[in-house]
Amino acid sequence: MMTYDYDVIVVGGGHAGVEAALAVARMGKTAAIVTMEASKLALMSCNPAIGGIGKSHLVKEIDALGGLMGEAIDATGIQFRRLNLSRGPAVWSTRVQADRIKYNEYVVRFVAAQKNVDVIEGLAGQILADNGRVCGMKTEAGRSVTSRAVIIASGTFLGGLIHIGDKKIRAGRMGEPAAYMLSESLAELGFEIGRLKTGTPPRLDGDTIDWSKCEVQPGEQPLPLFSHRSVREPFEQTPCHLTYTTEATRAIISANFKASPIFSGQIKSTGPRYCPSIEDKFFRFADKPRHQVFLEPEGNGTNEIYPNGFSTALPEKIQYQAVRTLTGLENVRPTRPGYAIEYDYCPAFQVMPSLETRRIKGLFFAGQINGTSGYEEAAGQGLMAGINAVLGIEGEPPFVLDRSEAYIGVMIDDLTTRSTTEPYRLFTSRAEYRLALREDNARDRLYGYAKEHKLIDDNDFVSFVSLQEKTLQEINLLRRKRVRVSEIGKLGDRFQKRESISLEDLLKQPGVTIGDALPILARFDGEFSVDREVLERAAIFIRYRGYVEKQQREIDKFKRMENEKIPEDFDFTAVKGLKQEAFDKFQCFRPVSLGQAGRIEGVTPGDIAVLSVYLKKHKG
C-alpha cells in the first residue's frame, strides 16, 4: 500500500486555502499548504475589510462551522459596525475594517500553532493524478509531495495578467508572480478553463488628505463581534470617511475612456457588475452627477488609505490626475496605482456540490478558481472543501448544505447550477429563504453539523444548547406575559384598539427595539433573562416567526425535490422527450437532484416533469 506525505495538500494559502487546511487538521487529518510565500497567508488582495451585506452572514456561518475568519477579524479589526440597522435584523450585516497586516500576521501565527498543518513554500506547477485519482502535486522547481486529496485554492494567480493603461504585467497580484504552469496542468487533465477580470483602486497617503472636507463614519459600540469565541476590550476605533467625485473627475475620466484597457479591447473577459471600475461608472451612468468614494484605512501602522469605489485600470498618470479631483484629495499623494487583473478560473459545473471535481477523484476546487470573488466567499468554500476532502478520504458521504440552511449552500448551489458570466458575489437577495438565514441564528442552523463533523469543541456545543434552551423559555414567556396598552407610553400608540397585549405582540412590531422593551420587562421582577443575547435572539425569532412558518411549506416542497436524487452516473441520453437545451445543460451541470436540475438556467418545468417521470419509472 502506498504511503502519502499528507492526507490533504492545499495549493494556495489565501482565505480559501487557510480555512481548508484548518478544517482538515481539526478533523484529525494532516494537511500541507503549498503556497508561494509563507508570510502572506490570508493576505487581503484588495479591500481591507471583512463582512458587509451577505458576506457577514457567510462569516457567521464559517464561524459556526469552526472556521477562523470571524476570530481573526475580531482580533485585528480597527473599525466595527453593522449595516442596515434601520432595517429588520434578518439583513443586519456586520462589517469590519481590518488592519490588513495584523490580520495576515494573526493568521500566520494561528496556522503555525495548529497541529497537523505544515506550510511549504513553493509554486505548485502540476497536479499528479493516477487513473482518475489525485495523488499529489509537483512544484515548478520539481519537488513532489504526495497526498490522498488536493484542494486548489489559487485565487487570482492562475494565468494572472495585470493591466494598467496599455501596460501588461504577468502577475497574480501586484508584485507577486502568476501561476502559469498550474493552469496548463489543469487544462491537460481536461478541465475547461475560462477567464475573468477584477480590479483594484490606487492607494493613497492619508497624511496628504484634507479630512475636514470628508464626512466621518465612526465605528459602533459595543463592538459587534463575529465570533462568540472572541473577547475584545473596547478601544478607540479608526473612522472611515466618505467623499465624492466632482465635475472635474468626470471630465478627466470621460476624456480618457479610450486609454482604459477595459474599453480599448485589451481586456476581453468580464468583470463584476457590482464592482465596476470608476471609468465604467462614468461610462454607463453618464447622467449621474457624482459617485461616492469611501476612504478606508489599511491599518493602524500605516498611512495608506484604500479609496473604495475608485477601482481603475487607467494609465497611472491619469489615475493620479483623476484622484486629485475628489473633494479633500486635491493634494493627495498616491502610493500605488490601481489596476485590473485577468485570471483563469474553472467554470464550476466541473465540481460537484461537495466541491470535488467530477473529472479527478480527490481533487477539489475552492475560492476564486470556481469563479467567485471575495474573501468570505473563498473562505466558505475552502472550509467546505476541507471538510469534504476528509470525508472523502474516510469514505463518508459529502457534507452539503442546502439553500434553506445556509448562505454557503446558496452560494455553492448557485455556482454548480449556473454558468458564470461575471465573478460571483453573494447578496442577501440571492437567498430565497433570507428571513430564515440570519446572522443571529447561524449557530442554530449549523452547530449540529459542526459537532457531527468534530469541527468545534464539545464544550462550545454544550453551552450553546443551554443558550438555545434559555432562548426558548424566553420566547414562551414573552408570549404568556401581557401588559396594559395604557401602561407602555408611546409604544401603546400602535395598539390603540386593544386594552392589553402580549409582549410577543409588542416585540413583533417593526421599529420596536430591545432597548424599548427592556424597561417593560424589568417590571416582571426578574422573570426575564438578564442576558441580552438571549433576549435579542428571542426577539428576532419572534419578529420573523410568522414569515418563516409561512415559508416552511415552500421549504418542505423544496426539500422534497432536493431528496429526489439523480444517480451520479445517470444516463441522460436515455430520457426521451427532453428538449435539446435541457439535455445539454444536464450533461454539463450533471444535477444531483431534481431540485437542482430545476434551478439550472434554461431548464423548464416541462423538462423536470419529463425527467421526474423517467426517474420514477426506473427507480430501483
Binding site: I53, A90, R418, S429, T604, P605, G606
Partner: protein, 407 residues
C-alpha cells in the same frame, strides 16, 4: 417542403400531397415532426391516416401535441391552457377569447405586470443589499404609486374572471316562475326541440333540466326548473328546493309570468322579493290568450314585462335580443384580449393580489424592506405559477442595469 404522392401499402396512389419535415427543436412540439398536406375532404385524410397507423403510427390523444410542446418548453403554461381552451370551446366568443390567449395577449399582459413588479423588487432589494449607495432613498412614493398601478391592474384582471368564467363555462340562464307559467314551453322553444314535458297540469316539471344553446354567439347554459309555489307534494317540494338554489346561481333569471292569471301582479311582487338580487328578466307569457285591452294593460304595467307567446312565437325575437344584451353587459371587453378564463389563474391572481396588498402596507411604512420584498416575491411566485419562471438573476440584472452600484 416536398411535393409527391402518397401511396397505399399496395402501391396505389391515394393523393397528391406536400410534406414538411421539421427536425427536433424546430417544430411545435420540439420533436422530430412531419406534416402532410393533402387535398380537402375527410375521406382522403382518413385514408392517409389509416395507412400511417397501419405502418405503426399512433393517433395523438386530444391535447397531446400541446402537452409535448409545453414539456419541450416551446410554450408556457398560459399558452398551453389556451390551446386546450380552443380545442374545447364550441362557440364564437369563447373561441375569440381563447384565441387571444393563444396569441399571447393575455400572456403579454401578465408578463408586463410581472416585469413592473420585478422593477419594484429590484428597487427594494437594492435598498437592502446596498444600504450605503446613494440611490435616492426617498423613492418610496414613486414606488408606492407604481405598486398601486400594479394592484389596480391585477384587481381588474381578477374581476374579468366573472366574465371569463362565462366565456369558459357558459352564461347560465335559469327559467323560473310559478307552476304552469310556460317555463318548459319556453325552454323547448329556445332549444328548438321538444326536450321538456309540457302539460296543462301545474307541477309537471319536478326536477331541473339543463341544456346548451348558442345565443348571439355566446355559449349559454339554459336551465328549466320546477315551478315555485307554497303547496304541493313531497317530490314537488324537493324539486322546488333545488330550483331555488339553482335560481341563486344564475347569471340571469328569466322569470315567467302567466298573464292570463288574475293574481299575476300580486304574485310577482311576492316572488321578486324571494329572488333577491339575482339579475332577473321578466316575461309575460300567453299573450295570445289576452284581449287587446288586456295586452295593453300588460304592456303598460310598471313591471316592464316582455310580452311573449310560446304558442305563436310572438315576442321571441324581442326576448332573444334582450337576453343577448344582458349577456353582453355582463361580458368583459374582449377586444383587449385580457380575460381570465381559468379558475386556476383566478386563484393564483387572487393570491398575488393579497401579497401585493400586504406589501403595500409595508412599503408605505418603509420600516422593513426585507419583509416588503418577501411579500412582493410571494406575489411574483404566484404569478409565476401561471407562467412558470424563476427570477433571482432577473432581479440582480435589473438592479445592475438601473443603478450605478458597487465600490
Amino acid at each position: 417542403m416536398r411535393y409527391g404522392h402518397f401511396l397505399a401499402r399496395d402501391g396505389a396512389v391515394i393523393d397528391e400531397i406536400m410534406a414538411v419535415y421539421m427536425p427536433e427543436g424546430r417544430s411545435y412540439t420540439g420533436h422530430d415532426q412531419v406534416e402532410i398536406y393533402c387535398h380537402g375532404g375527410r375521406q382522403v385524410a382518413k385514408m392517409i391516416q389509416d395507412e400511417l397507423v397501419a405502418a405503426g403510427a399512433r393517433v395523438a390523444e386530444p391535447g397531446e401535441f400541446t402537452r409535448l410542446a409545453f414539456l419541450a418548453g416551446r410554450i408556457d403554461l398560459t399558452r398551453a391552457e389556451a390551446v386546450a381552451e380552443v380545442i374545447e370551446s364550441n362557440t364564437d366568443t369563447s373561441f375569440r377569447a381563447a384565441r387571444d390567449h393563444l396569441l399571447g395577449g393575455y400572456h403579454n399582459h401578465i408578463s408586463q405586470l410581472r416585469e413592473a413588479l420585478i422593477d419594484i423588487i429590484a428597487e427594494v432589494e437594492a435598498s437592502v443589499d446596498y444600504p450605503e449607495e446613494d440611490i435616492d432613498p426617498e423613492n418610496r412614493f414613486g414606488l408606492l404609486a407604481q405598486l398601486d398601478v400594479i394592484i389596480a391592474n391585477v384587481n381588474e384582471l381578477v374581476d374579468t374572471y366573472r366574465g371569463g368564467r362565462i366565456i369558459n363555462e357558459g352564461f347560465r340562464i335559469v327559467i323560473g316562475g310559478r307552476p304552469n307559467a310556460g317555463k318548459s314551453s319556453l325552454f323547448n322553444l329556445l332549444l328548438r326541440q321538444e326536450r321538456a314535458l309540457v302539460t296543462p297540469t301545474p307541477g309537471t316539471t319536478r326536477d331541473y333540466l339543463s341544456e346548451w344553446i348558442e345565443l348571439d354567439g355566446f355559449k349559454v347554459n339554459l336551465i328549466d326548473t320546477a315551478g315555485l309555489r307554497q303547496t304541493g307534494g313531497a317530490v314537488e317540494k324537493a324539486g322546488q328546493k333545488s330550483a331555488r338554489q339553482i335560481l341563486k346561481g344564475a347569471n340571469l333569471v328569466i322569470w315567467m309570468v302567466d298573464t292570463t292569471k288574475k293574481s299575476w301582479k300580486r304574485d310577482l311582487g311576492y316572488d321578486l322579493k324571494s329572488l333577491g338580487d339575482t339579475p332577473t328578466m321578466l316575461i309575460g307569457n300567453k299573450i295570445d290568450l289576452l284581449s287587446g285591452a288586456g295586452l295593453k294593460r300588460v304592456k303598460a304595467s310598471d313591471a316592464k314585462l316582455i310580452p311573449l307567446s310560446c304558442l305563436t312565437g310572438k315576442g321571441v325575437a324581442d326576448l332573444k335580443r334582450a337576453v343577448g344584451s344582458r349577456i353582453t353587459d355582463n361580458m368583459p371587453d374582449l377586444t383587449s384580449g385580457v380575460v381570465v378564463t381559468s379558475a386556476r389563474h383566478q386563484q393564483k391572481l387572487s393570491k398575488a393580489l393579497r401579497s401585493l396588498k400586504a406589501a403595500r402596507v409595508k412599503l408605505k411604512k418603509d420600516e422593513t424592506p426585507e419583509l416588503t420584498a418577501f411579500d412582493l416575491r410571494q406575489a411574483v411566485a404566484s404569478i409565476d405559477e401561471i407562467t412558470g419562471k424563476i427570477y433571482t438573476e432577473e432581479i440582480l440584472g435589473r438592479i445592475f442595469s438601473r443603478f450605478c452600484i458597487g465600490k
